[in-house]
Symmetry: C2
């Protein structure tokens, strides 16, 4: 156990730095705030530092979690004002942690997964987090996020995932050329599905293959044309006359759950 | 056309006041920001004031919209710095309007609608806006929002609706007693549907009646027990083992679209 009472402490400076995307990329680490996210991470994630307020440290109901975490990394008890200055949330709940980015083997990623969501420049952190949560809930087992999508280790994304970020591998910041290569080289094995208002089939009329890549486009501009051209199935989600489009996380949810459905029908 | 160059102008003061929920309730008016929302409103809404920047006023591509709006209300051209100070958005796009809250006859609401979403204390403005957008898109024709839900005329809600707020009647701030009365008195006519992880039937196995009320609960605490008791059908949305729940807007979307589906299957 380590006591921190100065805002100039090197660990606090390190923590603060990790709120910037570039520093996260350099260090390969990110910040988790709040008990719920840290509990979700406790099973699998690789912890570097744990920061708690004196009040959190004293509370009996936190003892179990702290016992588990102390076996994984150094526990730092930080003065409340310093702790709150670092935290992104208004109510940081007295616990934060620095966690290593989840590693996975990119060379085997496409061999191990069956249902993939491919996200093309999703901008809104709430959408990104909700999509990750829904993909995991519906049994999708991998996400590819194209370069230009919001960083998945952004605090707002992490909060919206409700911890689901640890439930499936997410390969992010993948460049366009690589994505096109993947779509081309995997088109025999995977069905590549795009939602398009002009498609002939409704999404609930289509028979989906076991292995799918579902394409979800940018909130304002939709899918990159180069990706859309490589889709092997286009389906439409019906829209009432005066509505132009659905929210990206809603469209993703409708498609993921329609595809997942067959696991539950005997 | 009216020129405004002072932040103390009474119309600017009135506009600023309407960013607070209590003032909106008192005046029965709310603020719309941005071209997209105002275009969506132009067909049906009752305009009180229109505010544009000199740059917006000069641009040729805005002429059509301004011609339509000027027939409905006074056009105020406001100095850019004053305009930007009032606006909630970082990029207010040079146009705002004060619009009257949409009126509808509450006594006939339940007679005219067929598919209703009943929202129990939805807190997040993004969720509320997305739910309204999805309900309208899937052909639901009414929303009841229980007291304790975020105000639908909040700027973040309005932005997330993408204009769908004008597509269906929304009866908000309805108190608990009234909701229980509605659920009890309408249980013969409407099927009252709740999502519950412990339900026996999956949501896609159930045969929905033509007239439905779908209950969607608070993000953190779920549905009020008194409402849940009055449900006539409980359905479950499958969740992978390590996921506790879905985002409220996602759960609403999955149910709305499942129910809407039968309109498209012949």
């Amino acid at each position: 156990m380590n006591r921190i009472s100065s805002p100039n402490n090197s660990k606090i400076k390190y923590l603060n730095k990790l709120y910037r995307s570039r520093a996260r990329r350099k260090e390969g680490c990110f910040v988790l705030e709040g008990k719920r996210l840290i509990e979700a991470a406790a099973g699998g994630a690789d912890f570097e530092e744990i920061f708690v307020t004196p009040a959190f440290f004293r509370q009996k109901e936190n003892k179990n979690l702290l016992d588990i975490l102390q076996k994984k990394a150094v526990l730092n008890v930080v003065d409340e004002d310093i702790f709150n200055q670092s935290a992104d949330t208004v109510n940081p709940q007295g616990i934060m942690a620095v966690v290593k980015e989840t590693e996975f083997d990119k060379s085997t990623f496409l061999k191990k997964v069956k249902r993939i969501l491919l996200l093309d420049r999703i901008q809104d952190p709430g959408n990104m987090g909700t999509i990750i949560r829904t993909a995991a809930a519906s049994g999708f087992d991998g996400i590819i996020a194209a370069k230009g999508s919001v960083d998945i280790y952004n605090q707002k994304v992490l909060r919206a995932t409700m911890g689901a970020i640890f439930s499936l591998p997410i390969w992010q910041k993948v460049d366009r050329k690589r994505i096109i290569d993947i779509l081309k080289s995997k088109s025999d094995e995977f069905e590549i599905i795009a939602a398009d208002v002009n498609a002939e089939e409704y999404y609930f009329q289509h028979s989906y293959k076991d292995k799918v890549i579902v394409l979800i486009g940018n909130e304002a501009n939709g899918l990159d044309k180069n990706y859309l051209e490589l889709a092997s199935a286009e389906v439409k989600i019906p829209l009432a006359a005066d509505i132009e489009s659905l929210n990206a996380a809603v469209a993703a949810a409708i498609l993921c759950y329609e595809i997942a459905k067959k696991d539950y029908i005997i």
